[in-house]
């Protein structure tokens, strides 16, 4: 393309006009993009959930819905809690250093009280809900050396009874522990943080 006979001032003005137009279009796109983010109603829907655990027998699990996600409450037997120590070598993140949990649940049993495990029942891989395979051994259909835990059927991730992920499975981190607190000895509040020094 030849530039002979081009009015340079006009050419520059066209460039400036086009640039400003592009910037304006960019700004105009903002409301459209933001209209797709979670609405005020979706943000407000995260109300806490109170759960009665007085009827939860040892070795059993209860599922409640919180913020549209399943939350599990597992009443662990003493043997189940003891078994966790044996797993430190075969789980990927034994101390939950890379995983998401409130500080008061960042301990060996990943719970406020050792007995009750509270977890968000969503696999950290791609968001399936793992299956509870709480019983140790072949009874869970997981083989004789299974020590109890959770198994995600979608992509084969395995978790122990503290929601800690096994090595060499697709899920990168342990199952999340949601914020929760004890209202009384038999009532839990999911979504409200435990206060310092309480319980």
């Amino acid at each position: 393309m030849s530039n002979d006979g081009v009015n340079r001032t006009r050419r520059q003005l066209i460039g400036v006009t086009a640039g400003l137009g592009a910037i304006g279009t960019g700004f105009a796109a903002v409301p459209f993009v933001l209209s797709m983010t979670p609405s005020a109603r979706a943000r407000a829907a995260g109300a806490p959930v109170e759960v009665d655990i007085s009827k939860l027998a040892e070795g059993q699990m209860l599922t409640v819905e919180w913020r549209g996600k399943p939350v599990w409450i597992v009443s662990r037997t003493p043997e189940m809690i003891d078994s966790l120590k044996n797993l430190d070598a075969i789980v990927a993140d034994p101390d939950s250093a890379k995983s998401i949990q409130p500080d008061y649940a960042k301990n060996a049993s990943r719970a406020i009280k050792d007995k009750y495990l509270v977890l968000v029942g969503i696999c950290t891989h791609l968001g399936c809900s793992p299956l509870a395979k709480l019983q140790a051994g072949a009874a869970s259909g997981m083989g004789d050396d299974w020590l109890g835990g959770f198994f995600c059927p979608c992509h084969g991730s395995k978790f122990d009874l503290a929601g800690r992920v096994y090595k060499n499975v697709p899920a990168p981190t342990n199952l999340d522990v949601p914020p929760y607190s004890y209202v009384s000895d038999t009532r839990l509040m999911i979504g409200v943080d435990q206060k310092e020094g309480a319980a």
Partner: protein
């Protein structure tokens, strides 16, 4: 009568290039005379697009995009709406047939080298159509709000959360419009599925045909018919699209409709392959189906995703990257290209150590789809068509086709035991078909290409 008609035609033609368009794209569009069976699938894909749009319009008259109402409204269409079952089965069967025709259309392109110059852009537009089609199918699958719809969407949207540096979570939240798949997600997927993506699809198909008619059709011999013109200036091996190929394609349409109707009327679920049984229960937020399985047309890529474990990254992808880098460095002559290969190879190796397997699974899944776009530049054979290529290309393509089917089957099976190893081997073979193509197409012994098309 004829006079009135001619006068009306003249009136329109003075105001719209009607005759010119007709001649340019149909009656004087010269296509190679040696099209075979494989050339049916382009026009059949267009037919399925029309079927999907028409049946889709009638479905939206009764469907409700609301988590409380969606599942029941689909049952209402099936049971209470007159002929509603036909509209739904046309649409659900059409979705699977869309992919059957498009996959065969793509295989045709790979066999006869239709992606080679000057048709690279035509192939890329086709790739855009393929990706839009996958988005369309994925979003449509959420709409019945069955349990597989819900958890399938949950898994696929979570793929985006694998993107590092905090971008992933923001992006997946933006796509869902909520913290989980919810009413907001259903409603926007409805909007995308019924207007945004179909509009883009129609535009892309239009551009695909415009690009095709600019460069002209390839043929089973991979010869440019425009290079051999008669004294009248027309290609000697060409025949006008209309009436020759319009008539041929109508035969294809008739054959296709027989099979299509047989599935709709006798086996609309096709034993769970076209409509999954787990989707006949409403979405349950607390209960994942025992196996999350996408529909068959996504399972090859799903297999690539599931095969990528920590072990696969260190024992499969790492050696693969190193070998490919060394091979490239040995093969290219340019020093700059050698340095670039070493640079890219080492960056990938470093990244393999930094990022977790989850991200690599998503990347491999993306490559599984995206690598097709690079075919015009990976294929270095002096000939286009498989008819004149040697044993290496033929073997590679046969292995790839079998591998694609095996990965597709594995994607429907539980990911445990030998299936995982098999899928990992399949993943490596899948990648090698593309990665090694510059070598096996270069060293392959080709046959001489004739001057004129053969019968």
């Amino acid at each position: 009568m004829q006079k009135v008609f001619d006068a009306m035609l003249g009136w329109v033609d003075a105001r719209f290039p009607l005759i010119k368009t007709w001649e340019e794209h149909l009656s004087k569009y010269y296509a190679p005379k040696n099209f075979n069976f494989w050339y049916y699938f382009g026009s059949l894909a267009l037919l399925v697009l029309v079927i999907q749009i028409v049946s889709g319009i009638f479905l939206t008259m009764h469907y409700k995009p609301d988590t409380q109402l969606a599942f029941a409204s689909v049952e209402y269409i099936m049971r209470d709406v007159p002929w509603g079952w036909l509209m739904r089965y046309l649409h659900s069967t059409g979705a699977s047939f869309f992919f059957i025709t498009v996959y065969l259309h793509m295989l045709r392109g790979i066999m006869y080298g239709s992606y080679r110059g000057p048709r690279e852009l035509l192939w890329l537009i086709g790739m855009a159509i393929f990706i839009a089609l996958m988005a369309e199918a994925f979003m449509g699958y959420l709409l019945p709000w069955g349990n597989m719809s819900y958890w399938g969407a949950q898994v696929i949207i979570s793929l985006f959360s694998a993107i590092p540096f905090g971008i992933g979570d923001i992006l997946s939240e933006w796509i869902r419009g909520d913290f989980v798949v919810s009413d907001a997600t259903l409603n926007r997927f409805f909007a995308f599925h019924v207007i945004a993506v179909p509009l883009a699809l129609c535009g892309l198909v239009f551009v695909h045909i415009v690009a095709l008619h600019k460069v002209g059709s390839n043929n089973p011999d991979g010869i440019e018919i425009k290079k051999n013109k008669g004294p009248d200036g027309l290609p000697v091996d060409g025949i006008p699209f209309h009436p020759y190929y319009t008539v041929k394609d109508i035969v294809g349409v008739a054959g296709f409709l027989i099979i299509f109707a047989a599935v709709i009327f006798f086996a609309p679920e096709l034993g769970g392959w076209f409509l999954e049984h787990d989707n006949f229960t409403p979405a349950n937020i607390l209960q994942t189906p025992p196996e999350i399985v996408p529909l068959w047309y996504f399972t090859p890529y799903y297999s690539l995703l599931r095969a990528t474990t920590e072990e696969m990254v260190t024992k499969g992808l790492l050696p693969l990257t190193i070998v490919m880098t060394i091979l490239t460095v040995i093969s290219v002559r340019n020093v700059l290209a050698k340095m670039a290969a070493v640079g890219i190879g080492s960056v990938v190796v470093v990244c393999l150590f930094i990022f977790e397997a989850k991200l690599w699974g998503v990347i491999l899944m993306g490559l599984g789809v995206g690598l097709f776009a690079f075919l015009p530049w990976l294929d270095m054979s002096p000939v286009k068509s498989i008819r004149y290529k040697g044993w290496m290309f033929k073997t590679a393509l046969i292995i790839f086709c079998i591998d694609f089917l095996v990965l597709g089957w594995l994607g429907t099976q539980p990911a445990s035991g030998p299936n995982v190893i098999l899928a990992q081997i399949g993943t490596i073979l899948y990648l090698l078909f593309f990665f090694l193509m510059p070598w096996y197409t270069t060293f392959d012994k080709t046959k001489p290409v004739p001057e004129r098309v053969t019968q």
